[in-house]
């Protein structure tokens, strides 16, 4: 499943990377095109494996995913963001992984725009837990919005749970499912190249996640306050953890130290987003997040 809007060139590159996979003819690519009323069809959408679905307004990541899962005719649903690109072997790795009794598979990402220091920092913030894996390992959370799941498992989940990987993966685990991170499933991710974009993205994502966590887990008000209190310390703890992880890589350590203030700024934007989501609910953050995800410039 791939959704595109105004970033046509980037979306076409993502679609091309999927269509170049060797066994793509046995698959169906659900292409959700939010820009269809303003742009010509996306290059590659004429491929017989592509089901091109014009979309309009009002969708969130969760409702769009619910829509995609319901439409899908295959037993496995793989999500790919329009600013990501599948690397060779991506599809084979997914199909091979689902030969065992796993319910979700995530891959190991690489940074598509390493020339930007901000992108490097954002990449570390978002994907650090998934790096440095050399064999399949079980995980409790998979890389957000770029993983693959069994359709039968996803069908039972509400669009609220589908808004965030945090709740999606937790729901699968609670139902007794298994999630695996497989380094053979490689993909590239284009990160934000300005601190404003990083903060904006993290804030709307965090507000969405905070609100869906509270709803999905049924947290009472005191529990939410406790979570907020914990959130206040999270940025500092994460910076310390990150410095520990990169201690043997002088290049990465230097990057983190140089960008420590920006790192804390971004992490606190996330913490504030979580707190507002827990206290006030999602507001229009879920829709703003989808809009951000599809249209943020990311240096393009």
């Amino acid at each position: 499943m791939l959704a595109v809007d105004r970033q046509r060139e980037r979306g076409a590159a993502a679609l091309r990377s999927v269509l170049l996979q060797p066994r793509i003819d046995a698959c169906e690519v659900l292409l959700f095109d939010f820009g269809r009323d303003r742009f010509p069809p996306l290059p590659g959408s004429e491929h017989p494996a592509v089901r091109d679905i014009p979309m309009r307004v009002g969708w969130t990541i969760g409702t769009l995913r619910a829509y995609a899962i319901a439409l899908a005719r295959a037993p496995i649903v793989a999500f790919l963001e329009e600013h990501s690109r599948a690397e060779p072997g991506w599809l084979d790795a997914i199909l091979a992984a689902f030969n065992s009794d796993v319910d979700g598979v995530g891959g190991v990402p690489s940074l598509a725009n390493p020339e930007s220091a901000i992108a490097q920092l954002a990449f570390l913030i978002n994907f650090r837990p998934y790096l440095g894996i050399d064999r399949p390992v079980e995980r409790t959370v998979l890389p957000g919005f770029n993983s693959a799941y069994r359709r039968s498992v996803l069908l039972g989940l509400s669009s609220t749970v589908l808004e965030s990987e945090t709740t999606l993966d937790a729901a699968i685990l609670r139902a007794g499912g298994r999630l695996v991170l497989d380094p053979a499933m490689r993909w590239l991710h284009t990160n934000e190249t300005s601190i404003f974009e990083v903060i904006q993205g993290l804030f709307v994502w965090a507000r969405t996640t905070g609100s869906v966590m509270a709803a999905a887990y049924g947290w009472p008000f005191p529990r939410r306050l406790l979570r907020i209190a914990r959130t206040l310390f999270t940025p500092v703890v994460r910076l310390a953890k990150l410095l520990w992880v990169v201690r043997r890589s002088p290049e990465q350590r230097s990057l983190v130290l140089r960008q420590a203030v920006l790192f804390l700024l971004a992490e606190y934007a996330q913490a504030v987003g979580i707190a507002i989501g827990l206290l006030l609910g999602p507001g229009d953050a879920p829709r703003r997040y989808l809009d951000f995800d599809l249209n943020a410039r990311r240096g393009w």
Binding site: R56, L71, R73, G156, A171, R287
Partner: protein
Amino acid sequence: MIALARCIRIAAPQDELFRYVADYRNALRFIQYLTDFQPESAEPYGLGSRFAWEANVRGFPLRANFEVTEFDPPNTMAARTVNGPESTCRWTFEPCPEGTLVSLETTLVLPRLPLVRLIGRAFFERENRRNNGGLAPRPTRLRRARRGCSLAPPTVYDSSRFFAMRRPLREDDHSRS
């Protein structure tokens, strides 16, 4: 402008569902809060047909006229208001393995006054969350679990539940047509 989209899977054929939704006599059955729905054009079905509706949303009376602006059976139907609150709605019907996937995209332009906008937005969002954007019952209402997420109930509704999910037609509803 506020925009909302929702979808629901219904175990019924696509054309049957399209006919049901496109038939204005059924509107009172499945559109939340409607109190009256009357054709205004000579042809009450298809592109260009016009209707007048009245609704009562938690005590707030609303009234508007709208026109069907897109009509592509059995795939899509869209409408926009021609007076009253500026809004649009667009229904799509897609076949899916379990039947038909019905989606509804709605937009609403709120008054310019900031306070009214703020309250209106919060109210609209809340009401839409409660009734799944007009596609109530919520397809996958979350069960509140004491610890962790619970799997929500299946999202497939059989056609009889969808057709009957609002109050039954009053005896005089059909006579008005």
